[in-house]
């Protein structure tokens, strides 16, 4: 009895603490359009997602400074789901039914997106998802401004297999244990099979979220690489595990020249926390790099630097921009354009108006929202890490390519490309 009572006490205590943490003050005003921002500001994903919140706030301010949308100012509602997947659904419901936001910009991990999906479908909300992901999904209520596998993962592996990329013959598929890495690796394995790579030349490894001891895995990679043929590592590690992973990589002396690591979730922001010198030459594939040179990008970088100073972000003098930040920026602008076109913030009208929207993006290309599949046409860049934590573009596509959310390498996906 004593026991049970204590546990009930514990449960009540934890629930009330969670509730206090969850309250967000928001003043109601009729002449504004509310915009939800759903990014983890604490926990393992905060390393990546905090910058997206800042980008969203900056973009909203930029739009407001130009007079807002439909003559109304945008009012951001920021919530913190704390890298806790069920909490994402809770917060999404709160944004939609309590704060009545017109649109939400948010999520990073696929597991968080999957957890909020039912809420957006049920309440007919609108979500803009700014991160590259595994595909195999197409929802009416979601616009995907990040890359589908054929806009990131597949070109990166093709590059590694090319002579230029070192003619890799064996592959280590290394990831965090959740839906995005597992699905991406399933697609990549099918793709590698189609290129004649056999199963014994593919090693697949997963670690839990927040894993911090990569000694064994690095030793295993070294051993695998020592068994003949050029080996490359394809990393879908997400969140703050990347810091110990790259630290260990540097300390173990695994050089990019011998075993290149190409990462799909590591950008300029994640590299800020690491000494990049031992990582020179390791790769990342994205649709935007901060080092891309064009006037749009100069403007974007300057805007974010000014914002960082104004918002007094930690280490404001050294802030960087990255691909998901660009995707957030593009997404918010496209949404604003669609609202202007639809003359309403109604979900269905905005979805109809989104088709075919274009925007001149910081990547230097004019991106277009596909008419049928809710994904952007995006260019692909492959970059090598430089000593200052920036990327040196070593390969890129000629222009934006159309997304294939349903990978053609997975059987049964034929004819699924439209909504």
């Amino acid at each position: 009895m004593q026991n049970r009572r204590s546990f009930i006490k514990a449960a009540v205590l934890s629930a009330s603490i969670a509730a206090i943490g969850g309250l967000s003050a928001s003043a109601y005003a009729a002449d504004t359009i509310k915009v939800g921002i759903l990014h983890s500001l604490s926990g393992t994903m905060a390393i990546s997602e905090t910058a997206l919140k800042e980008t969203a706030l900056m973009t909203i301010e930029e739009i407001n400074a130009k007079g807002g949308v439909l003559g109304k100012k945008l009012e951001p509602v920021v919530v913190d789901p704390a890298s806790d997947w069920p909490k994402f659904a809770e917060k999404a419901r709160q944004l939609l039914s309590q704060d009545k936001v017109a649109v939400t910009f948010g999520c990073w991990t696929s597991v968080s997106r999957k957890s909020v999906l039912p809420v957006y479908k049920e309440l007919n909300g609108l979500l803009f998802y700014p991160v590259q992901y595994e595909g195999e999904e197409l929802e009416k209520n979601v616009f995907y401004t990040g890359a589908a596998p054929n806009q990131q993962a597949i070109p990166a592996v093709e590059y590694l297999m090319s002579k230029e990329g070192g003619s890799a013959k064996r592959f280590v598929l290394l990831g965090t244990d959740y839906v995005y890495p597992r699905t991406t690796n399933k697609i990549l394995r099918a793709f590698l099979h189609s290129k004649g790579v056999k199963d014994e030349d593919i090693m697949e490894e997963y670690t839990p979220f927040g894993h911090s001891d990569y000694q064994t895995i690095i030793a295993k990679i070294k051993k695998f690489a020592g068994e003949g043929k050029k080996t490359a590592v394809i990393s879908t590690i997400n969140g703050d595990s990347n810091v110990p992973f790259y630290k260990e990589l540097g300390n173990a002396g695994l050089k990019a020249k011998d075993v290149p690591v190409v990462a799909f979730s590591v950008g300029e922001e994640e590299l800020r926390g690491v000494d990049a010198k031992p990582l020179v030459g390791h790769l990342a594939a994205w649709n935007y790099f901060m080092s891309v040179k064009n006037p749009e990008n100069d403007k974007f970088i300057k805007m974010y630097r000014d914002w960082a100073k104004k918002a007094k972000l930690p280490k404001a003098e050294s802030v960087v921009t990255n691909d998901p930040m660009e995707a957030t920026y593009v997404g918010i602008h496209m949404w604003a354009q669609a609202v202007e076109k639809a003359k309403s913030t109604d979900t269905d009208k905005v979805i109809a108006a989104m088709a075919g929207q274009t925007f001149k993006a910081p990547s230097g290309f004019t991106l277009k929202m596909d008419e049928t599949n809710h994904h952007l046409h995006k260019p692909v860049f492959i970059g090598e890490i430089k000593a200052d934590g920036q990327f040196n573009t070593v390969w890129k596509t000629k222009g934006p390519i159309r997304a294939q959310p349903w990978s053609p390498f997975i059987p049964g996906n034929e004819g699924k490309q439209k909504l």
Binding site: A10, A46, K222
Partner: protein, 535 residues
């Protein structure tokens, strides 16, 4: 492909030789082009023209990422100065809008290999040795370097360097068209202990379509023998590496659990906030790093040393405050203590969020803790892990001395074994409780400093270690230092071997299953308190 390339570079070498001192404009043009093959041929040409001072300067500049192109002209940017790459003459004024030329991995490998090969002709023995070792670790395309190696081998007098050169030469001549040369090379390589060489040899045994890569059967047999010999040499260092990673994980577990062993053992307090005391220690290291960066930038590499005492005292102070304010009133009520300390842990996490922000903070390894020592070709031990293993040994020694050789330690042991009797003979049990709790917390703080060097430092970092710490204490038996040591090292090594065998996720599950079974078989391992609850 390789053959064609080596032919190409041979042609380039002959051509460059006849062209004289000035750099071949075709090379310069190739470097400036966007086409990968053209760039590669240009770098091979530079390597072949290696004796030339202009070529060496350009190679060096390429390796430093200091080459740029403006219009048709190739430039070397050295600080404020801009040189013409072809002649080395300083350009004034510098051409406008130079666009820097960047190399990708395979080109950089070629450039670095060529630079190292050129250093083989240095007059300084140490430099020649270093260059030879560098090439041994990473030669890239051997065919490109072959002419240089030939020449170096002919000149070399030093026996150690010559030995390495012979092996390098063998490595490079695996692509030779002459089967006897290849056979000799393979036999020579059998004496190596390097995974890179093994990979090269394995490549010979591969099939390309119907045919083997290596057409001669004798060479293939020799390669098999050589691979076996190399494997034998690699096996021991593999195992040694695995044991080391286990010990390294064990030392971290020990640092995390040692403090808990004291507080749990002495007072029977189930301290759920123990993980947060680790966090306090890690943030102390961060704060010291910030202080050193701001005030004593010349000593910034030694901030870790300063962080050790600071973390101990800060964490001890937090622990003693916790004990005085909350835990003291709950002695003998384990469930309430559990709840209260869990609440305290939330308070501490939130406090860290308010003070330092919700994001992880960056704690850099000092230079002397970066990199590693290379024991064998496939075994390098990272310095930060070595330092932590040594540090945990040191902490263990201090704790043992304190518990067994000091008056305070004697009091603590007395209270642990029989509290009322200790009180009767005049031991101030309440004060001992506070001090013991403080010491346990301080040791957790030390663990935090160690963790800050290898893991992420954030407000909720402690949560990941509380379960592991309890596992160690439970497994080792409560209140015993030796138990904690064996349990930590055992768990570390077992986890690492399981990880190597089944992957990190499964290993975690298996370890938990093991603990559950263990507790069922040996429940006294869990609550075999020697303190007041038993007496």
């Amino acid at each position: 492909m390789k053959r064609i390339l080596s032919l190409l570079c041979l042609v380039a070498a002959l051509w460059a030789g006849s062209a004289g001192a000035a750099l071949d404009p075709a090379i310069l043009k190739g470097l400036a082009s966007d086409d990968f093959d053209a760039k590669q041929a240009a770098v091979a040409g530079l390597a072949a023209a290696g004796d030339d001072a202009d070529a060496q300067r350009l190679l060096k500049a390429l390796s430093d990422d200091a080459v740029a192109v403006a219009g048709e002209r190739l430039l070397i940017v050295a600080g404020d100065q801009v040189l013409d790459a072809a002649s080395g003459a300083a350009l004034k004024p510098a051409p406008a809008n130079p666009e820097s030329i960047s190399l990708n991995n395979s080109l950089r490998q070629q450039v670095d290999g060529a630079l190292a090969a050129l250093r083989l002709f240095s007059t300084d023995t140490a430099e020649r040795l270093a260059a030879a070792r560098l090439l041994l670790a990473d030669m890239g395309d051997g065919a490109v370097l072959m002419p240089l190696l030939d020449k170096a081998l002919a000149h070399e007098q030093d026996p150690v360097i010559k030995d390495i050169l012979v092996r390098l030469h063998a490595q490079a001549s695996l692509g030779s068209p002459d089967a006897t040369v290849r056979l000799k090379a393979v036999q020579e390589l059998g004496g190596s202990a390097s995974p890179a060489v093994k990979a090269l040899l394995l490549g010979l045994l591969d099939k390309q379509g119907e045919d083997f890569v290596e057409p001669d059967e004798k060479v293939r047999l020799a390669a098999q023998t050589a691979i076996k010999a190399i494997d034998g040499r690699l096996a021991w260092s593999d195992t040694a590496g695995q044991i080391f990673t286990g010990i390294s994980l064990g030392s971290i577990l020990l640092l995390a659990a040692l403090g808990l062993a004291i507080t749990y053992g002495v007072m029977g307090v189930i301290n759920m906030a123990h993980g947060e005391l680790l966090m306090v220690g890690a943030y102390s290291a961060y704060a010291m790093q910030a202080l050193f960066r701001a005030r004593f930038p010349e000593f910034v590499d030694y901030y870790v040393l300063a962080a050790v005492p600071v973390a101990f005292f800060v964490a001890a102070a937090v622990g003693m405050a916790m004990e005085r304010a909350v835990i003291r009133h709950l002695y003998g009520r384990p469930l309430e203590t559990l709840l209260a300390t869990w609440g305290l842990s939330l308070v501490l996490i939130q406090a860290a969020r308010l003070l330092f922000g919700a994001q992880n903070v960056e704690v850099a390894n000092p230079a002397w803790m970066s990199g590693g020592v290379q024991l064998a070709d496939n075994l390098s031990l990272p310095w930060n892990r070595l330092v932590i293993v040594a540090f945990s040994g040191f902490v263990l020694l201090v704790v043992w001395l304190m518990m067994n050789k000091t008056r305070l330690g004697m009091f603590v042991r007395a209270v642990t074994q029989n509290r009322p009797m200790a009180g009767c003979v005049g031991v101030p049990t309440a004060r001992i409780d506070t001090l013991a709790f403080g010491i346990g917390s301080g040791i957790a703080g030390l663990g935090g400093v160690a963790l800050s060097q290898i893991a992420n430092v954030g407000p909720d970092m402690g949560q990941g270690y509380i379960v592991d710490s309890f596992m160690v204490v439970v497994l080792g038996g409560v209140g015993q230092l030796a138990g904690a040591v064996w349990a930590a090292l055992g768990l570390g090594v077992v986890t690492k071997f399981l990880e190597g065998w089944a992957g990190a996720v499964i290993a975690k599950i298996l370890v938990l299953v093991f603990i559950i079974i263990f507790i069922q078989k040996r429940p006294q391992g869990l609550f075999a308190l020697k303190g007041r609850f038993v007496d």
